[in-house]
């Protein structure tokens, strides 16, 4: 970076010139990229992150996250070798942190595809600066999530393939009535499509890196980038097909954003347990997932923005927009919390009523109120534009939302289970060090993967950012 960039939008506003009416209306909007970088500047900025040597800070950070990840993997191994008993799960709380973590990570994984696919289809051009990292985050979150359905089983060594509909000599088929199986399909599909979508989007940038590595004479990088860029030349035909493929994948991904968490919510909604058996769950879970996903995107992006010096591309407008989505989904989630209480009262079902009274006033009320405060009360700050554009406030609130959304899943899973129909079987769940270690471990895995991504893969979609630079858009002959 040769220039220091003033990230304030006013600066940009004053320097942007007139032009046609169409261009003007375009310009009336806040610019998505500030500081008027040239096309080459974009390439330079983003590629430099990949090409330069990792900093000391990067090494320190990845060592820490790596150790945490390794500790988590050790805890997983310990569980597998000893038994689920090393966790706090019991009778009646058969699921606790395991599935809480699963749903939490799946939720985190929602923002990426939403940003890449839905915002793409809605022509929300501000997405370009954040979609790459958000998608990467999606993948890593889904990887973390996928750990749990496997390891939460009593016999993961068979679960890992018995949960798949593979033809076998036992002539034993999976149970298609089970929502857990639907999960396998939903999450598997989501992961596969997200991966392809992300990879397709990466190809032009990988080719750029390949060319630069060739020029710089870096043989190894050149070989790798040559292989992964699949012969991309930037030819018109390539671009043509690329755009088509990207659009199609965006189309495929869009329903997946809704379906994955809908199906995850079926794990609960299809059951008979009061507090789980609720038809509101699909929309409530999807809103919650987007809510948590955006919170995590914000958490990571605000860090990446300053650490990788991407202030020019990830602007306050992005933060503002995302905070708006955060607040909208947060309100949906809050509304769902309220509706659950209304229905519990309105249904006249004593079990249902009890579950919700128990949530707010029972032994897990602390978890419930943590959830409400983090998810409903704190995000109200974002009614103020100043707050939406305050990075520090946004970052802190995004952390609160992450915590709140973790607790939402815990509240749904554990508090519904711990006191269900027969009071004789009621119990209480307390986590063990293994529960904590495994969750921390997945955070470690997630951050480690993200750090690797941030170092070795262009964190911004170079080609897409170029497309939103002033002058990059076709102006129909007016400009």
């Amino acid at each position: 970076m040769k220039r220091t960039v003033d990230a304030s939008p006013q600066h940009h506003w004053s320097t942007e010139g007139g032009g046609s009416l169409a261009a003007r209306s375009d310009d009336l909007r806040e610019a998505l990229v500030v500081g008027q970088p040239s096309l080459n500047d974009v390439t330079e900025t983003v590629s430099a992150i990949v090409e330069r040597k990792p900093t000391k800070a990067w090494y320190v950070t990845i060592s820490i996250t790596g150790v945490v990840a390794a500790w988590g993997i050790f805890a997983i191994l310990y569980t597998t070798l000893t038994g689920i008993g090393v966790w706090g799960n019991n009778q009646p709380v058969g699921w606790a942190w395991d599935i809480t973590n699963f749903v939490f990570w799946i939720g985190i994984g929602h923002a990426g595809t939403l940003i890449s696919a839905i915002l793409f289809l809605f022509r929300q051009r501000w997405r370009t600066a954040i979609n790459r990292s958000a998608e990467a985050m999606t993948l890593f979150a889904v990887i973390c999530a996928l750990i749990f359905p496997i390891i939460h089983t009593g016999r993961p060594w068979v679960a890992v393939y018995w949960l798949l509909p593979l033809p076998n000599q036992m002539q034993m088929w999976v149970n298609f009535r089970s929502p857990l199986l639907w999960d396998v399909f939903a999450v598997g599909t989501y992961f596969a499509v997200s991966l392809i979508f992300w990879y397709i989007g990466l190809m032009p940038d990988l080719a750029t890196l390949r060319n630069r590595a060739y020029k710089a004479g870096n043989k190894l990088a050149n070989t790798i980038f040559t292989l992964v860029s699949l012969g991309w030349t930037g030819a018109n035909r390539h671009w043509h097909r690329y755009e088509k493929a990207y659009l199609i994948l965006a189309g495929i991904s869009t329903p997946l954003v809704l379906s994955v968490h809908t199906i995850v919510s079926f794990d609960f909604a299809v059951s008979v347990i009061p507090g789980w058996h609720t038809t509101i769950f699909p929309p409530y879970f999807v809103a919650g997932a987007i809510f948590s996903g955006f919170a995590m995107v914000l958490t990571l992006m605000i860090l990446a923005r300053s650490l990788l010096r991407l202030e020019q591309y990830i602007t306050l407008k992005h933060v503002d927009n995302m905070n708006k989505i955060l607040m909208a989904t947060g309100l949906m989630v809050g509304y769902a919390y309220g509706v659950e209480y209304f229905i519990a009262w309105y249904s006249g079902n004593p079990y249902e009523r009890f579950v919700f009274i128990n949530r707010a006033l029972g032994p897990y009320s602390w978890a419930y109120w943590t959830m409400v405060i983090c998810n409903v009360i704190i995000p109200q700050v974002f009614w103020s534009k100043r707050m939406r554009r305050n990075l520090a406030v946004t970052w802190v609130i995004s952390i609160f939302v992450n915590i709140g959304m973790w607790f939402e899943r815990f509240v749904i899973i554990a508090t519904s289970l711990h006191r269900d129909f027969l009071p004789s079987s009621w119990g209480y769940f307390t986590p063990t060090w293994v529960d904590v270690s495994i969750f921390a471990g997945t955070v470690g895995i997630f951050l480690t993967l993200f750090l690797l991504f941030a170092k070795f893969i262009p964190v911004l979609a170079i080609s897409e950012v170029k497309a939103i630079l002033p002058g990059a858009q076709p102006k129909h002959g007016h400009n």
Binding site: I84, Q91, W162, M172, V174, L180, S425
Partner: protein
């Protein structure tokens, strides 16, 4: 061969050969020259042959190293007669709990006893069994049983041990000291005879019965007032009104099996015959019997005598019933009946119905005397009356005097040899009392199954057999005679039965002793030949003996006893009873329901069986009500120190609704420290609170000190009553249904008055609307069960029977605290009403085998599926352990193997497993199967007989089989004539959580309380 080449002309292949290089010549004749095998490559370091050799070796190693050790199974070359491998044999034997004996059938597979069941020809058990009998199987295979005798802590042989004991006996006899043998209570006439014979052979010897649980109130009172030496056994089914004075006839009393059977037979009202007895319970503690009472009156123990006196006054003086002597009547005149609200109504009820008063056996003589007087006034005594005077518990005469005497002798140093025969006084006598009493005794020896607390003080220890390995006999209180026969050769080499051991010792002392009877078996047969056989009228003893073995017991007539009422003794005791004790804090020490006196504390099955009242496992607690706890400043799980004159123990506080004010209660059997790996560290020894030389159970003044510590109590059920008025709305859950007898008589629909609305069902019998078609069970069987909550007393027999039948693991205290107990059947307990005197409801809860089972559709791998016969089946092999099924089970009856709970069982524990039931590994879910292995076994045998459908009663589940109350009925509901079908359509039936429309296969029959018309 090489020589040949030297002749004739020389053919050569190389210069080295030609020039006769010795190295070459050496290998000339070899077909495979080592060098020839060398690869042409100079780099090769290994020849082809070496390579192949190594390859073969490593292949062999690979094969050897990674294979499990080879185990060969060999089929019978000559099959034993009468035995088909894979088919269980049943042998009759007899179980004795203290001096209460009843018949058993022991299921044996390939020579291993694997399940204990009641013997249906036995009139006492009627084919039922208690949790203690069920668990006695585990004690057979207990790995902590001592293997061989020890003399001064080094291994020995029984012969040598006997000889050393005999030497000691001779030595002390020479100096004029005495020999005392302490034995436990028993019901064996042959043992009794043996003890008398020993006393005859060795004149300085006496055999003293000194059980851990000493309670002689009843025997003393009977002996002084009625002239009957022993404890009388009433028949509760004959009484319309039963008044229990803190008695635990349905719980911890040794003969409770009999009482539960008799009591429950009058607790199953039908609309057609609303015959039902009424149970009153007046007690300071909350006993199992009290919790089953129709009307329960909590009263501090200091008031019990006053209550009885008042009752006697009401009956005799006010109502003028019965002819008491004038002296007695005069004593009563001071008693007041108006102190206790409702006493008049109890009296009214007792007076106008055939009724009986049962007094807790731990209560003192004077209370029992009052009970005797009341029963006399009520006319309960007589042949074939409620209290059949011939039904005396065998050998139950008061042991007070002999215990006092032997204690005196011990303290005075008169005893030279003390032989402990299967008793553990170091545990059951308080604190250091045992050590003090044997301080002047030269030799203390032990015959026991475990190296327990007492054997630490013994120089010679000889392990004795388990009753399933030994011969024996028993007499039942109705005069039946029964045989105990060994089911398996002793599992440990050095063991002898108690009889053999005693005979062995005596024979070493006196060679002439037992000349005609070589072994205890001979002695036993001889005893039968002399004392039982003549009365049988059979021609041949062997026939008679074999038939007895086959049946297990022969009916006999009890000895007629004559009552001789002694009014002076009554007056004396009445005077004592009339004394008003100071109202201090009192502790009631009672035997624990699971462990009784702690002899089998090493049995995980019993430790993990929840107390029927508190639901506490693995340890004892001190129970008190909320008010008392508040007054004492303690909370649930606070560890307090209970201090009595005799000693002190530390136990956690348990708030028990229904305890009388200022009344505390705890149980014995816990706090064992020696003898096994399982028992150590659970609970504290409540025996040490009881003063020596009085009863070892009963009431004692106590002070409570705080320790400042807290302790987790391992309960299997938390404190969540169904009582109304709480925030949580749980009173609106209609889980247990009940009605008073009056309500039921007037309108059976009263039972369903709290039903939650169910769509599409107007009547209780209607099926709710469903979007799925009902399951088609029309052909063959459709298994179903009914459980009568009115009959169930909560005795836990079903729980332990299920554990034994289904290879259910014991998980330990930590896991129970975590909520991971594995029992497939649990007895849910709910309270209703007043916290200070709640009504208790019990509901055995097990897999409901729902027709539309919520567990089945959520399993992703189809490991739990529906059978065409209505069973909800669990395929362990397929289960991956997602626990989703358990989460989705509304009854929470599924159990998950959080760890490898079975692990590698210590020898010989693995012999106990039922081979028809899979031993589950960690990570799989399990639950009640309706004993599918029993169903299949019955189906196979029916098929062999050419029948497709089983007859009613042909198959019974383990829980049903054990249930003394006959509360559980299992069978084919496709057959309208089966008893389960008839029960289901009865007017007390309901499904738990019917509103969920999961269509359970278990129908519960509502609890009917015979409380109205009495006190209310």
């Amino acid at each position: 061969m090489a020589e040949k080449y030297t002749e004739d002309k020389t053919y050569w292949k190389s210069f080295r050969e030609l020039h006769r290089d010795p190295e070459v010549l050496k290998h000339l004749g070899d077909e495979f020259h080592p060098a020839r095998d060398e690869s042409s490559s100079a780099a090769s370091f290994m020849s082809r042959r070496t390579f192949i050799g190594l390859l073969a070796a490593s292949a062999a190693f690979a094969g050897v190293g990674c294979r499990r050790p080879e185990q060969t199974i060999v089929p019978y070359v000559r099959k034993p007669e009468y035995h088909t491998p894979g088919i269980a044999d049943y042998f009759a034997t007899t179980f004795t709990h203290q001096n209460f004996a009843y018949g058993l059938l022991v299921k044996s597979r390939e020579g291993r006893p694997i399940k204990i069941e009641g013997n249906d020809v036995d009139p006492i058990s009627g084919g039922k069994s208690s949790h203690l009998a069920q668990a006695s199987l585990l004690s057979l295979y207990d790995p902590d049983r001592v293997l061989r005798p020890t003399v001064n802590n080094s291994d020995s042989t029984p012969r040598n041990a006997f000889r050393r004991m005999a030497d000691a006996i001779r030595e002390v006899t020479a100096v004029g000291k005495r020999v005392r043998i302490l034995v436990d209570e028993h019901a064996s006439p042959a043992l009794h005879a043996l003890y008398r014979d020993i006393e005859a052979v060795m004149p300085n010897t006496r055999v003293i019965t000194w059980p851990a649980v000493v309670a002689y109130g009843a025997a003393e009172a009977n002996s002084r007032l009625l002239g009957i030496d022993g404890v009388l056994i009433p028949d509760l089914s004959k009484a319309d009104v039963i008044l229990s004075i803190e008695s635990d006839v349905l719980g911890t009393d040794p003969e409770s099996l009999w009482h539960i059977r008799r009591f429950s037979s009058r607790r199953k009202p039908k609309r057609t015959s609303v015959d039902m007895s009424r149970l009153y319970s007046v007690e300071s503690s909350m006993t199992l019997t009290g919790s089953n009472a129709d009307i329960r009156i909590p009263l501090p123990s200091t008031e019990l005598n006053a209550f009885l006196l008042g009752l006697l006054h009401e009956l005799c003086v006010v109502r003028g019933m019965g002819a008491l002597d004038e002296s007695l009547a005069a004593l009563l005149s001071e008693a007041r009946s108006d102190r206790f609200s409702g006493l008049a109504k109890v009296a009214e009820d007792l007076a106008s119905n055939p009724s009986v008063v049962v007094v807790g056996r731990h209560l003192p003589v004077e209370t029992h005397a009052l009970g005797v007087l009341l029963n006399r006034v009520l006319g309960a005594y007589g042949e074939n009356a409620i209290i059949d005077t011939r039904h005396v518990l065998p050998y139950s005469a008061s042991k007070k005097e002999e215990i006092e005497e032997v204690t005196r002798e011990l303290l005075q140093g008169d005893v030279g040899v003390l032989l402990l025969a299967d008793v553990n006084p170091a545990y059951s006598m308080s604190g250091g009392a045992f050590r003090d009493s044997i301080a002047k005794t030269q030799h203390v020896f032990s015959l026991s199954r475990y190296a327990d607390e007492s054997s630490k003080h013994c120089s010679i220890f000889v392990p004795v057999n388990h009753y399933l390995e030994a011969w024996g006999d028993a007499v039942m209180f109705d005069g039946s005679r029964a045989v105990t026969q060994p089911l398996i050769a002793p599992l440990n080499e050095g063991q002898a039965s108690l009889g053999d051991a005693l005979m062995g010792i005596v024979r070493e002392v006196n060679e002439q002793a037992f000349e005609t009877t070589e072994t205890w078996y001979d002695y036993l047969r001889e005893h039968w030949r002399k004392h039982v056989f003549p009365a049988s009228g059979r021609p041949y003893f062997d026939h008679f003996w074999n038939e007895t073995l086959r049946r297990g017991s022969i009916p006999g007539a009890p000895e007629p006893r004559r009552l001789t009422f002694n009014s002076e003794a009554a007056a004396a005791l009445l005077r004592i009873a009339g004394m008003q004790p100071d109202s201090a804090l009192r502790l009631c020490v009672l035997p624990s329901n699971s462990l009784y006196d702690g002899r089998d504390a090493n049995l995980g099955w019993l430790q993990e069986t929840p107390d029927p009242v508190t639901k506490v496992t693995w340890g004892n607690v001190v129970m008190m009500n909320q008010a008392t706890a508040r007054r004492l400043g303690c909370r649930q799980e606070d560890v307090v120190r209970l201090v009595t004159d005799a000693g002190s123990i530390e136990v956690p506080v348990f708030i028990q609704p229904g305890m009388a004010d200022d009344s505390l209660a705890t149980t014995t059997g816990f706090g064992r420290t020696e003898g096994g790996r399982v028992l150590d560290g659970y609970g504290s020894n409540a025996f040490s609170l009881m003063p020596l030389l009085t009863q070892s159970i009963g009431h004692v003044e106590v002070t409570v000190e705080s320790t400042g510590r807290r302790m987790s109590i391992a309960t299997t059920q938390d404190h969540h009553s169904l009582s109304g008025g709480n925030l949580y709305d749980i009173d609106r859950r209609d889980i247990v249904k009940e009605a008073t007898l009056k309500q039921y008589e007037e309108d059976a629909a009263a039972i369903y008055r709290h039903d939650l609305p169910v769509y599409g069902a107007k009547k209780n019998t209607d099926r709710p609307i469903s979007i799925t078609k009902p399951f088609d069970y029309s052909s063959g069987h459709r298994w179903g069960m009914t459980i009568d909550t009115s009959a169930c007393v909560g005795c836990n027999a079903c729980v332990v029977a299920c554990v034994a039948e289904n290879n259910i693991p014991v998980v330990g205290k930590e896991q129970v605290i975590r909520g991971r107990e594995m029992h497939w059947i649990r007895i849910d307990r709910y309270y209703a009403g007043d916290e200070n005197n709640p009504e208790t409801l019990r509901q055995p809860m097990l897999c409901q085998h729902c027709e539309k089972a919520p567990c089945e559709n959520v399993c992703p791998v189809a490991a739990t599926t529906h059978s065409p016969e209505g069973l909800n089946e669990m395929t362990y092999n397929r289960c991956v352990g997602t626990r989703y099924c358990s989460n989705n089970c509304p009854y929470k009856v599924r159990r998950f193997n959080y760890f490898d709970y079975h692990g590698e069982p210590r020898d010989p524990l693995s012999l106990i497993f039922n081979p028809d039931v899979t031993v589950r590994m960690r990570g799989v879910m399990e639950k009640c199967t309706f004993c599918v292995q029993r169903i299949n076994e019955a189906k196979y045998s029916a098929k062999n007989e050419g029948r497709e459908v089983l007859r009613d009663g042909e198959v019974s589940t383990a829980c049903q089989q054990a249930c003394p109350a006959d509360a559980i009925v299992f069978g084919n509901t496709n057959d309208p004539e089966s008893s389960v079908s008839k029960n289901r359509v009865g007017d007390r039936g309901y499904h738990v959580l019917r509103e969920l429309n999961v269509l359970p296969s278990i129908t519960y029959l509502a609890k009917i309380r015979n409380s109205e018309g009495g006190m209310e």
